[in-house]
Amino acid sequence: MKVLVAVKRVIDYNVKVRVKPDNTGVDLANVKMAMNPFCEIAVEEAVRLKEKGVASEIVVVSIGPKACQEQIRTALALGADRGIHIETDEEVQSLEAAKLLKSVVEKEEPKLVILGKQSIDSDNNQTGQMLAALTGMGQGTFASEVVVEGDKVNVTREVDGGLMTVALNLPAVVTTDLRLNEPRYASLPNIMKAKKKPLDSMSPADLGVELAPRLSTLKVEAPAARQAGVKVADVAELVDKLKNEAKVI
């Protein structure tokens, strides 16, 4: 079966972000970018499904500026078969991303669509669910285990009280949690091979989707800084401070 994986280019997770002085956003100039960690897990899961003989073809898609092709190439180096780049320099919000992905799903007709549960920049946690709603598919969100059985997929989900397993009819949408797998590294030969794999580029207009953002960001600020604390010498002083100064125990 065909598996579609959506990946996003985001600021590297180790970078300490800086808010721009004019409060219009976060400074992304000359900052290290990478594939969103949850998307890496999605790619890895698709590759594992292929290695198990469950998936026959892996198509990876990314939406954004030209530079997103780096992340698509990374996914190809990890084992995806071909890439689709939906190129736009505009801001793409979750609902629009879901609509673009819906068009791709209608063209490609994958049996399984795998996305990360959230991107670590906007922290929205929406796109997979919106795509599932728009395509009328079931959704296995926050997945820590994915087992395809016949025309169903069993997804074990990380929920507030523990774990929950649901069975979804295929085609379905799955969003990955961190514990689903441990992504592999791309080897140099595979990175070289990935350069020859097909990568189609198209615009939102080619897919018949008009970008119409519904949310406008009025300002972005740095969070209130915490007051610098004190170091205590020993446990006795700590307990004393908590009881008599902070009065929290």
């Binding site: 609902l95 649901v166 069975a167 519904r214 446990v235």
Partner: protein, 309 residues
């Protein structure tokens, strides 16, 4: 304005997060109705009716909602919610699952995890793991919003007298079936709403050593949390994880033991009122946010702390 709040519950009890969401709804202003969807959840409907500020409670009691499957809840809430100006739910795993589905079905954007209400269409939410705070304005006719419960003081759970009506809308999307669940059992307070949280990280070295934290937690009525490192190492189950990808907590007191304080962990606890760090590495980033820091070996400090309490 009319606001629909989707109750969070376990079919027998109303979760406190619902009262936090009602508080967010009151900050927006307008009539507040609550929808309780579940199976054999009549008691939850009665409890929701007592919440301060609620005018009407609708109870959709049917087996198709029993396990809070996002597909079925999404269709129900989109149907009921289309006559409201705002639809709100707690940003727990249930709300995060079905609310974007509601938004897509209504063809509107969703505002995730709001921590403040500026006006009826403008909200404040964290981005980049809480390292930036965005103020966003929605131009949609229906605002679909998930609420960070710890950012709003809960309304009183007693004293209200909303009307309760049964809602006979059955939406079975037929896309998914519940198979089973494994819920972690604990007598301690719920992590997300506990007044005190004691958390352990990789420094705990193994799951057995978490018993030390549990003993301390029991002395002060605390919940026990963990960093991702501790969860990934298999010390404790994942529902104990605090951070960007786990639970967001904001207790009165947060005690971080053997936790270095990575960006992703701080995202889940840096709004705690008082933060205590116990770590043997005095360069650990956790000390930059800790009100009280103790540089010590946790295997000496924790037993000592237990005796002192």
């Amino acid at each position: 304005m009319s606001i629909l709040v989707i109750a969070e519950h376990d079919n027998s009890e109303l979760k406190q997060a619902t009262l936090n969401v009602v508080a967010a709804a009151r900050a927006i202003g307008g009539d507040i109705d609550v929808l309780v969807a579940g199976e054999n959840c009549g008691a939850v409907g009665q409890a929701a009716a007592k919440a301060d500020g609620v005018s009407k409670v609708m109870v959709a009691d049917n087996a198709v909602y029993g396990h809070f499957l996002g597909e079925n809840l999404g269709e129900l809430v989109a149907e009921v919610g289309k006559s409201y100006s705002h639809i709100l739910a707690a940003a727990g795993t249930v709300g995060k699952d079905f609310m974007p589905r509601v938004a897509a079905l209504l063809d509107v954007a969703q505002v995730s995890d709001i921590m403040r209400v500026e006006s009826e269409d403008t909200f404040v939410r964290p981005i980049y793991a809480g390292n930036a705070i965005a103020t966003v304005k929605s131009t949609d006719s229906i605002k679909v919003i998930t609420v960070r419960p710890t950012a709003f003081d809960p309304v009183a759970g007693e004293g209200g007298s909303a009307t309760v009506e049964a809602l006979d809308v059955v939406k079975d999307a037929g896309l998914s079936q519940f198979v089973n669940e494994e819920l972690a059992k604990s007598d301690r307070p719920d992590l997300a709403s506990a007044g005190i949280v004691v958390s352990g990280g990789r420094g705990m070295q193994n799951g057995e050593n978490f018993k030390m934290l549990e003993q301390v937690a029991d002395l002060i009525g605390a919940a026990v949390g963990a960093s991702r490192a501790a969860v990934d190492a298999g010390f404790v189950p994942n529902d104990m994880q605090v951070g960007q990808t786990g639970k967001i907590v904001a207790p009165q007191l947060y005690i971080a033991v053997g936790i270095s304080g990575a960006i992703q962990h701080l995202a889940g606890m840096s709004d705690s009122k008082v933060i205590v760090a116990i770590n043997k590495d005095e360069e650990a980033p956790i000390f930059q946010v800790a009100d009280y820091g103790l540089v010590a070996d946790l295997f000496e400090a924790i037993p000592e702390l237990q005796r002192a309490l």
